[in-house]
């Protein structure tokens, strides 16, 4: 055990003295992640503000009555003989065409397949106010027939939202955090991974290390544990800086979502923090072992970086596995706890949304530890293979 900790201590000490490691694992997550998140949300907020201020432009063809209705609804109405063309040319955000027949008035809302979010928002806004126009016209018609308009009171439809305000934001936060965790914990900290195996070969220190009385298994375990600890720290810094900047941006930059400071759905204190700690450790155990295997197999650091960079592709299928839980706003399914790597994300997601099942978390932890130890054994076998050690 002493030799395992000696190897682990040395690796951690070396990593903390390496400027590149500090920049990649501490400085970038702590500075760059918040800068990106805050930047994106700030510009999105500015865009929403601009949209609200300038309003929507409508290319219009129809009656004066509908024209006035739209103008009174804070829309900028431009008369046009070819509404579709104006929408296609992006001279208007949306088009409205009213055709009068002998029996009724036919209103068509025109949007382009190529319209951006502003066009879609404009169409949604117009579609939202047109029922009021229809009601207005029907009331006018009934008045001409001498019928009271209280028929509209026969059926009153209203909507009501129950539960915690902005509850969906919690699922959104859980999903994004679990994805950031996958990318950071599994493929992040690549430099550390390359240094711990291929770096030893490149510097010519591996053979001296293998000639010491320590067993290959102990060397592998020490290096794996060091990498797991360093990966956990890096992942946790990334997650915390992401989460704080994300929640700050949502509550402070007006995105039109009605999110204010103190929105309980975005609170990560307590179980949220624990979820990130548990998830980061879980993911780092297996992630570190895989990084180590690739690193020790590689000829040099350059080759290791190439392979480890490709490892990012492995997480893509998992991203899709996680999507249904977000779209349905439900907990991650139980079977995910049994799949190494992705179970870290599942645990984090479920704990953030408040679905804490300790036996399952324990099971996931156990599975990941067993898998990681098997992988560490593979590394120690690799260290006994001449074709791997001398592959320089």
């Amino acid at each position: 055990m002493k030799s395992i900790f000696a190897v682990m201590r040395k690796e951690i000490k070396e990593a903390f003295r390496d400027r590149r490691t500090l920049i990649m694992s501490v400085l970038l997550p702590a500075v760059l992640v918040p800068a990106i998140v805050l930047g994106i949300f700030y510009f999105e907020g500015q865009s929403v503000k601009q949209e609200t201020k300038s309003g929507y432009t409508v290319a219009f063809q129809g009656s004066e009555e509908l024209r006035s209705f739209l103008a009174n609804a804070n829309l900028k109405v431009i008369d046009s003989k070819d509404v579709s063309d104006m929408v296609l040319q992006k001279k208007a955000d949306v088009g409205v065409v009213e055709e009068q027949t002998s029996s009724h008035s036919q209103i068509t809302v025109v949007t382009s397949f190529a319209s951006g979010s502003k066009g879609e928002n404009a169409a949604s806004y117009v579609n939202g106010i047109l029922p009021s126009y229809r009601e207005l016209r029907i009331k006018q018609y009934l008045a001409t027939k001498g019928i009271k308009d209280d028929v509209f009171s026969l059926v009153v439809v209203q909507s009501k939202q129950v539960g915690e305000p902005n509850a969906f934001l919690k699922f959104m936060l859980a999903y994004i955090v679990s994805l950031v965790m996958l990318s950071s914990g599994f493929v992040g900290n690549v430099y550390l991974g390359t240094d711990i195996g291929a770096g030893e070969k490149e510097r010519g220190t591996l053979e001296s290390l293998l000639a010491t009385p320590v067993s290959r298994f102990h060397i592998a375990m020490g290096k794996w544990l060091a990498l797991a600890v360093l990966n956990s720290i890096g992942t946790l810094i990334t997650l915390l800086s992401f989460t704080f900047s994300y929640t700050y941006a949502l509550t402070n930059f007006d995105l039109g979502l009605g999110v204010t400071a103190g929105t309980s759905a975005l609170s990560i204190w307590g179980s949220g923090i624990w979820a990130m700690v548990i998830g980061a450790i879980l993911l780092s155990l297996t992630g570190a072992a895989l990084q180590f295997i690739i690193s020790i197999y590689s000829r040099n650091m350059r080759e290791a970086q190439l392979y480890l960079g490709q490892m990012g592709m492995v997480i893509l299928p998992f991203i899709f596995v996680l999507i249904p839980s977000l779209t349905n706003a439900t907990a991650m399914p139980t079977w995910l706890y049994f799949v190494p790597i992705v179970n870290a994300s599942a645990v984090t997601y479920n704990v953030i949304i408040g679905n804490v099942v300790w036996p399952l978390i324990g099971m996931a932890f156990l599975i990941d530890v067993v898998v990681a130890i098997i992988l560490a054994l593979v590394v120690s076998k690799f260290m006994n293979k001449e074709s791997v050690i001398l592959r320089i």
């Binding site: 070396e14 003295r17 010491t212 009385p213």
Partner: protein, 237 residues
């Protein structure tokens, strides 16, 4: 003591060792001389338990390199060719790391470090190894290799590329180790150095031992004025 019997090793179709046998006695510096690609490094890697032989046997301090690999490594201090230091650790930390791996207690390690630093004139142990010159690094490599006071020392080209003061320091160190009764296997392709340091030499060429004896014996046998001349005559045969 090192006993090597009929050691064979292949790398694919390449026969690196074709039945090498030799012995190294305690209190002697035994030279393993040969041109590049002769099989010196492969032999040393087998003795250090980094590689396994295909056939034959090798014992270090009485322990078999295959069956008792861990005990062999405990008995060995090895400086391999092109060995590096951990650049971000200080010299002291490099040495103490290897002391920890060998199970040497900290007080004992500090005591030995002090003696060895004095012998090799090392006063830069507090500096990060990345700042060392080749000679400085090699002297520290020697300290790192013997911090656990092993009875057997294997040195593969320890003076390659070193300046004169560093080379002299390494030679003094090797002599001191021999005088303290250790078994020293010294691999080199520099014949003048072998002549100065080695009590007995084995000349290896194309994976086989082609000659052995003390430097004086080899010179007499080949009617040569220097070991270099003797070496060339043996290798060309």
């Amino acid at each position: 003591m090192i006993e090597v019997q009929n050691l064979q090793k292949h790398f694919g179709n390449v026969e690196a060792l074709k039945g090498v046998s030799f012995n190294c006695k305690s209190g002697q510096v035994t030279g393993l001389l040969g041109p590049n690609g002769a099989g010196k490094t492969t032999t040393i890697r087998i003795l250090s338990t980094i590689l396994k032989p295909i056939s034959g046997s090798a014992k270090v301090n009485g322990f078999d390199v295959v069956k008792d690999a861990s005990k062999v490594r405990s008995s060995l201090g090895v400086v391999l060719e092109n060995t590096g230091l951990y650049r971000r650790l200080t010299g002291d930390e490099n040495v103490l790391y290897f002391a920890d791996l060998a199970g040497v207690s900290r007080p004992e390690a500090y005591k030995r470090m002090e003696v060895l630093y004095k012998l090799l004139e090392i006063d830069y142990g507090k500096r990060q190894a990345g700042t060392y010159s080749k000679g400085m690094a090699q002297k520290l490599n020697l300290v790192r290799a013997v911090i656990h006071d092993p009875p057997v020392l294997i040195l593969d080209e320890p003076t390659a590329g070193l300046d004169v003061p560093s080379t002299l320091a390494v030679r003094t160190f090797v002599k001191q180790q021999r005088d303290s009764g250790k078994t020293v296997l010294f691999s080199t392709h520099l014949m003048n150095e072998a002549e100065l340091l080695c009590d007995y030499v084995y000349i290896i060429n194309l994976g086989s031992i082609v000659a052995e004896g003390s430097p004086e014996e080899l010179k007499q046998r080949t009617q040569s004025n220097s070991l270099e001349e003797a070496f060339m005559k043996v290798v060309k045969q």
